[in-house]
């Protein structure tokens, strides 16, 4: 049956949209799940309808070129209480990491933030801009003329810093144990490839 066949795809769509920080384009989901884009859209429409029928507290909406979960307007008063309660007042780890990247690498483009974080930084960047912590400071003179972002004065004030130079330096960072272990493992792999190398007993030069 058609419905049965797409059960896995349905699950995949729900799972991906659930963990996404920004609207997920149906085309991307189509690639990931390896089904046509129209199929993804059909699944999303169907899911949105199910949530409506079941009077869920959330809805699946299409926004900014993609699908996202958000709280249902009927539950707005409770969501407001929750947000105001301050329990969600700390920056999400996604937003904090994004803010940190902007702070240390400014000025830079959204694409550069995403490249460092390894995930799409759109949503987090938007949040930070709205909160006045990050602002646009110009355009990249290179190809593409990407918008460049930097921290806003509000950011320094809130952190009690005089200038960006007062951020704790990254340079004295010492690699963690797992880096050392990975290094050892690969050194050993090398020894295995060249068994005679170990006979001289020299410690590997590094």
């Amino acid at each position: 049956m058609e419905a049965e066949a797409s059960s896995e795809a349905r699950q995949a769509v729900e799972a991906i949209v659930m963990v996404a920080e920004a609207p997920v384009p149906p085309g991307l989901m189509a690639q990931l799940i390896e089904i046509p884009t129209e199929k993804v859209e059909a699944i999303c429409e169907q899911l949105a309808e199910e949530y409506r029928d079941q009077r869920r507290g959330f809805e699946l909406v299409r926004a900014a070129g993609g699908y996202r979960f958000r709280s249902h307007p009927d539950a707005e008063s409770y969501v407001k209480r929750f947000v105001v309660s301050g329990q969600s007042s700390r920056l999400s780890s996604a937003a904090l990491e994004t803010l940190a990247i902007v702070a240390y690498k400014q000025p830079l483009s959204r694409a550069q933030v995403s490249a460092i974080r390894g995930v799409n930084a759109e949503g987090a960047m938007r949040t930070l801009q709205q909160r006045g912590l990050v602002r646009e400071v110009g355009r990249d003179p290179g190809p593409g003329n990407a918008r460049l972002f930097a921290t806003a004065p509000e950011f320094l004030e809130r952190l009690g810093l005089d200038s960006i130079e007062d951020l704790p330096p990254l340079a004295d960072f010492v690699p963690g144990a797992e880096v050392i272990e990975a290094l050892e493992t690969s050194l050993m792999a090398e020894n295995r490839l060249a068994p005679e190398a170990k006979s001289d007993g020299d410690p590997p030069a590094e």
Binding site: V79, V83, I116, Q130, L159, R192
Partner: protein
């Protein structure tokens, strides 16, 4: 007892060396890395069922000294802890070698017992936590199959958030940066069925500029582990060459087809030359 530490790692090369002649499978343990004497002892005793008295303490000491040489500076705590355990072993061993007819001083015998018991207790505790660690890893593996939602409230509610930076200081920011830059593997969407290359040389180079400073020496294979297509590896290789050209990394390869070791040598500072560089077309 000194509460020092051993930072030296006993590589398997060491273990194989001490056990020469004891087992006929000297290469079997090559995948292990031993952290300190407790670890090594546990391994020798449990995994290989070696009679401890077959192990030449001198060999362990030699191997350990070689290990210390390899470390950049002598850590006195490391050396102390090691010597303490080596001394305990020597004492236990030597007591066994003494002619059996000659009675030991009672005090000596008691102290020998207590040394032994202390070492035994530490080995047991160490073994207990090793097993616990494995159980935790399994729990994490099960839980890790799902990813938690962290999206937070959408824009409609954001202005209601009372204090966005509550409890966050400069050090939290630094930790967040290191988390974002260092512990995250390369951004990768599995697009094996799509022909285009998922990232450009410039993107990879930017990523490496974030990852490599402070990461010590990293093998090229560590960087490309998990990539699926040859072309992706090529993009990484080009990115590394680009960094080399700009004098940001040192590259070395000890043997033909051996490990390519990459060491960051540029400024890990705010003025990052690559960020301002022209984009490559990949």
């Amino acid at each position: 007892m000194t509460r020092g530490g051993i930072g030296g790692h006993y590589t398997c090369r060491v273990a194989a060396q001490v056990r020469t002649g004891v087992t006929d499978q000297p290469f079997e343990v090559r995948t292990d890395v031993f952290e300190g004497p407790l670890d090594l002892l546990l391994h020798l005793i449990l995994q290989d069922e070696v009679d401890l008295y077959e192990v030449r303490v001198g060999d362990i000491v030699d191997a350990y000294l070689a290990e210390l040489d390899r470390m950049e500076h002598l850590d006195l705590e490391v050396a102390t802890e090691f010597l303490l355990i080596a001394a305990t072993l020597v004492q236990l061993k030597s007591s066994r070698l003494l002619p059996s007819g000659e009675p030991l001083d009672l005090d000596e015998e008691l102290s020998l017992w207590s040394e032994r018991d202390l070492l035994l207790a530490r080995l047991l505790e160490c073994q207990t936590f090793k097993a616990a660690a494995q159980a935790l890893e399994q729990l994490a593996a099960v839980a890790g199959r799902g990813v938690p939602r962290t999206a937070g409230p959408d824009e409609r509610y954001l202005e209601l958030v009372p204090d966005f930076l509550a409890g966050i200081g400069p050090c939290d920011l630094r930790a967040a940066f290191l988390r974002a830059a260092a512990s995250r593997p390369a951004p990768r969407v599995d697009r094996a069925h799509v022909t285009d290359i998922p990232f450009s040389v410039n993107e990879v180079a930017t990523e490496l500029v974030a990852r490599l400073p402070g990461a010590g020496t990293v093998g090229f294979r560590d960087l490309t582990d998990g990539l699926e297509t040859g072309i992706e590896v090529v993009v990484y290789f080009l990115a590394v060459l680009e960094l080399y050209k700009r004098g940001l990394v040192e590259i070395s390869q000890a043997t033909t087809f051996g490990r390519i070791a990459i060491t960051w040598s540029g400024q890990a500072g705010l003025d990052d030359p690559l960020i301002a560089a022209d984009a490559y077309d990949g």
